[in-house]
């Protein structure tokens, strides 16, 4: 067992545990904090997979911006008062379905697909963000520009939705 594999297992366990923590914590703030941890481990996976730019984006966007937003909303709404009850009557069918899905997915990725086809490349790839940026701003220029519009729309939508109408 190589060190990398050991690291993977440790990180995988962390990811699963933090996900479970988010799933099960009664308090929304805890759930958010577990999720931040989870995102962090996933970012480390990205580094392992030779995608440092994505890893840093993950930390910045998810771990930073999005989760801060979540926490901000929780604070805003007074999440302490919000009951984070489980929906107990759907736990059994949801658990069964989740189990079935996991089994199916594991059968798919571990059994049905031969490992040789899924060998991760051993060659060291250029992990620098320059080629990525070049690709993004040449081939994917149009989708990139469209995302700016998407973000603009989201921003305007968020403002409209949360705006309180002043009387008079």
């Amino acid at each position: 067992m190589s060190g990398e594999l050991i690291l993977f297992f440790i990180l995988a366990l962390t990811a699963i545990l933090t996900a479970a923590g988010m799933l099960l914590s009664r308090h929304a703030v805890y759930a958010a904090l577990y999720l931040v941890l989870n995102f962090g481990t996933v970012a480390i996976f990205y580094l392992l997979l030779g995608s440092p730019f994505i890893a840093l984006s993950q930390v910045t966007v998810y771990g930073g911006a999005i989760m801060v937003l979540f926490l901000f909303v929780i604070m805003l709404l007074g999440a302490e008062q919000i009951t984070a009850e489980f929906s107990w009557n759907s736990v059994v069918p949801a658990g069964l379905l989740g189990l079935a899905l996991v089994v199916e997915a594991l059968v798919l990725v571990l059994q049905k697909v031969s490992a040789s086809n899924l060998q991760v490349a051993t060659s060291v790839i250029d992990a620098a963000p320059e080629p990525l940026a070049k690709q993004l701003f040449t081939v994917y220029l149009l989708p990139f520009e469209i995302t700016s519009i998407l973000l603009l729309v989201a921003m305007v939508g968020a403002i409209i939705l949360t705006k309180t109408e002043k009387k008079g």
């Binding site: 759907s90 069918p93 949801a94 379905l97 899905l101 199916e104 997915a105 059968v107 798919l108």
Partner: protein, 700 residues
């Protein structure tokens, strides 16, 4: 134009286009012209056509060969090729001369006649219309005589029929006495419908020609005719004869001509005496190469013509209307012509056609003069002696309703020679010419026919001689009744002479009636030789002194007899015709036209009305409407719709859709429970789907 080869032949289309031009000028600009202007335009158009015809005759006398002058393509269908081509030969030019010559004189006469007629009839607006129609007739007649094929001839044939219809019905809203009535328009319709029967025969003949010869061209037909089967020739000639009987008023289709006298007198003279009705004679003469092929056809034509001549003459004896006498006389004389051309005496028939055109036009126009003279007298009486002459005022201004007076009834006349001396002498010339007294035109032409009949067809000769005797008799009777004796009516005492514009053309016609015989004097035979250049079958007639003597003697005897009957003791007003006592029921028959009209009415018209009534009442109303439409279609449809509505629509369609709707509603009721509004249960469903699909893909 003047080179020797073509002569004036290229001008020939003008004989049609000049009258058409005159017609159009009067039609479009006539409202701005005075009456004299309108008449001058029409008469000039006709006169110029006459000039063109004279030029054609001159060119033909230089170069006698027949000319075909194409004008336009008409029908080109497969092998059927019919063009509008003028045929200039001695026969057609002879007809052109007669039509345009007599036509021009009658135009001039009509300028005066219609001037008064429209005033007596109280509608001056129709003056222009009359000349438009008259020019139309001249143009159509020219097309008839100048066509080079039977179909082109038929165009003119129908065209003159139309003109005839229009002119007979010229006073369509009144009867001959000016009273409001449908009488005149009925006469026009009668003429038109009876002519349709004849046209039907003509068309059948033309179709047979096309079927047999592949052409209706005169040249082609005549060239191919000798090779055709005898029965084809016979039927063509018989069908043509039906056409002739219609247009030239032969038995059994003559009945329209007496009624056609409803038209103004110039029309009677031009169309129904001098020109149009002779179209049949022209047709037979033109078809001489066909008729001479069939002795049977010639026999039929000759006999029919002779019988018509005698039959019409007997009716003429019993008539009282001055124009009716002349009308039956015209039928009779047409019978002479048809008999002549039937016998193969084509030049004699054409000769009689020409002379008859002269003296019968003269007689009709003189009769018109007499009638107008009587009208003037009547007008004079109605308005008192200070009334202005010639009918310049309208009748209505007198304020009194004048008695119904027939200016054409010979029983109202008598002694007119004192009041109308010019007309009297002109009438006398016409009568002598018609009676066939030497040396007037009628003598020569009639004698030529009789001589030919005597030689070839004895029975025709005897019939025609009897007809000639009656001709002289009824003309004598007419003269005595109209011009001699004492006036039998107050009006006759005040009759007035016609103006010069009416009498001048009559003088020309009188001169022609006197001298017309010179055209074809025995031994000279100008006309026969002239026509022989076109109609090869013409044989130069021989003069038969015996026949001439007998016919002259018969004519003189008839005139004497009429004098003895009508002048020895001139008949007085209200006294019946002296013949009535002598002949009894025979005269009644003559008087009533042998009840032929009534017979036609009984045999054809009433039966036709019966048939129409049967079709309308029984077939259309009772059968189609009442039974078929109401009982079969309507009831069947109602039954069908009821069946479709009740069992099919309500029973099946409605039930099926209701069951479907209920099923959909029930399933919707059960399914709506699934849509509970909880997002998580929807997500559960999606999850279920994902698991199921993935499982299927994995473990299939």
């Amino acid at each position: 134009m003047m080179d020797n080869t073509s002569g004036f032949f290229s001008l020939v289309p003008l004989i049609v286009f000049l009258p058409v031009l005159g017609m159009l000028i009067n039609l479009i600009f006539g409202s701005k012209f005075s009456e004299k202007g309108i008449g001058a335009v029409a008469a000039t158009a006709s006169g110029l056509a006459f000039v063109v015809a004279v030029l054609q005759a001159y060119s033909l006398s230089v170069a006698p060969a027949a000319q075909n002058i194409p004008v336009a393509q008409w029908i080109h269908i497969g092998t059927l090729v019919i063009d509008w081509t003028f045929r200039v030969d001695t026969l057609s030019v002879t007809m052109m001369l007669v039509v345009s010559g007599v036509g021009t004189l009658i135009h001039i006469y009509a300028i005066g006649y219609m001037h008064e007629d429209v005033r007596f009839k109280n509608d001056e607006g129709r003056y222009r219309r009359f000349f438009v129609f008259l020019n139309l007739f001249i143009a159509m007649m020219m097309i008839l005589v100048s066509g080079n094929s039977y179909m082109m001839l038929f165009v003119g044939w129908e065209g003159v029929g139309l003109s005839s219809f229009l002119l007979i019905g010229f006073w369509y809203d009144m009867d001959t006495l000016g009273r409001p009535s449908f009488a005149n328009s009925n006469a026009a319709k009668k003429a038109f419908i009876v002519n349709r029967v004849g046209d039907f025969g003509f068309l059948l003949a033309a179709f047979m020609m096309f079927w047999q010869f592949g052409s209706t061209n005169f040249d082609n037909v005549f060239a191919a005719a000798p090779a055709a089967p005898a029965w084809v020739i016979l039927w063509i000639t018989i069908f043509l004869l039906v056409g002739v009987a219609g247009k030239s008023a032969q038995i059994p289709l003559y009945i329209w001509l007496p009624d056609a006298m409803a038209g103004p007198t110039p029309v009677s003279a031009l169309i129904h005496a001098a020109t149009m009705v002779t179209a049949g004679v022209y047709l037979v003469t033109r078809s001489a190469p066909i008729y001479t092929l069939s002795a049977d056809a010639q026999y039929i034509v000759a006999t029919l013509g002779a019988l018509t001549a005698l039959f019409a003459a007997t009716i003429a004896v019993g008539q009282y209307d001055i124009k009716k006498v002349l009308a039956y006389s015209t039928i009779s004389q047409l019978g002479f012509m048809v008999a002549a051309v039937g016998m193969g005496a084509f030049s004699a028939g054409m000769f009689h056609l020409i002379t008859h055109a002269f003296f019968k036009a003269l007689l009709f126009l003189s009769a018109g003069s007499v009638i107008l003279g009587m009208e003037r007298g009547h007008h004079h009486l109605a308005h008192g002696s200070h009334g202005d002459h010639g009918g310049h005022g309208s009748r209505a201004e007198a304020g009194t309703i004048p008695e119904v007076f027939d200016p054409g009834d010979m029983r109202n006349m008598g002694g007119l020679r004192k009041q109308m001396p010019v007309t009297f002498w002109l009438y006398m010339i016409g009568t002598i010419a018609l009676a066939g007294i030497f040396p007037f035109a009628g003598f020569w032409s009639k004698d030529e026919i009789l001589a030919d009949a005597f030689k070839n067809y004895p029975h025709v000769y005897w019939i025609l001689s009897a007809a000639a005797f009656l001709t002289a008799f009824y003309m004598g009777r007419q003269i005595w009744m109209v011009f001699f004796g004492q006036p039998r009516h107050e009006v006759a005492k005040h009759a007035e002479e016609s103006p010069l514009i009416m009498t001048a053309p009559l003088m020309v016609l009188a001169a022609l009636s006197v001298l017309g015989g010179l055209l074809n004097m025995p031994g000279v035979d100008t006309l026969s030789l002239w026509l022989k250049q076109t109609v090869e079958q013409i044989e130069i007639g021989e003069f038969n002194p015996q026949v001439a003597l007998i016919s002259t003697a018969l004519a003189l005897l008839a005139i004497f007899l009429s004098w003895w009957l009508y002048m020895r003791k001139p008949i007085q007003a209200g006294q019946p015709d002296p013949l009535k006592k002598m002949l009894g029921p025979i005269f009644t028959g003559m008087e009533n036209k042998w009840f032929i009209d009534e017979a036609y009415w009984f045999v054809f018209v009433d039966r036709y009305v019966d048939l129409a009534r049967f079709l309308a009442q029984t077939v259309d109303w009772n059968f189609w409407h009442e039974w078929f439409h109401n009982s079969v279609i309507a009831a069947g449809f109602v039954g069908l719709t009821r069946f479709l509505a009740d069992p099919v629509d309500l029973g099946i369609v409605n039930k099926v859709s209701k069951v479907l709707a209920d099923a959909v509603q029930a399933s919707a009721q059960s399914l709506r429970k699934i849509q509970n509004g909880f997002v998580r249960s929807y997500a559960l469903s999606v999850m279920l789907g994902v698991v199921a699909i993935l499982g299927y893909l994995l473990f299939k």
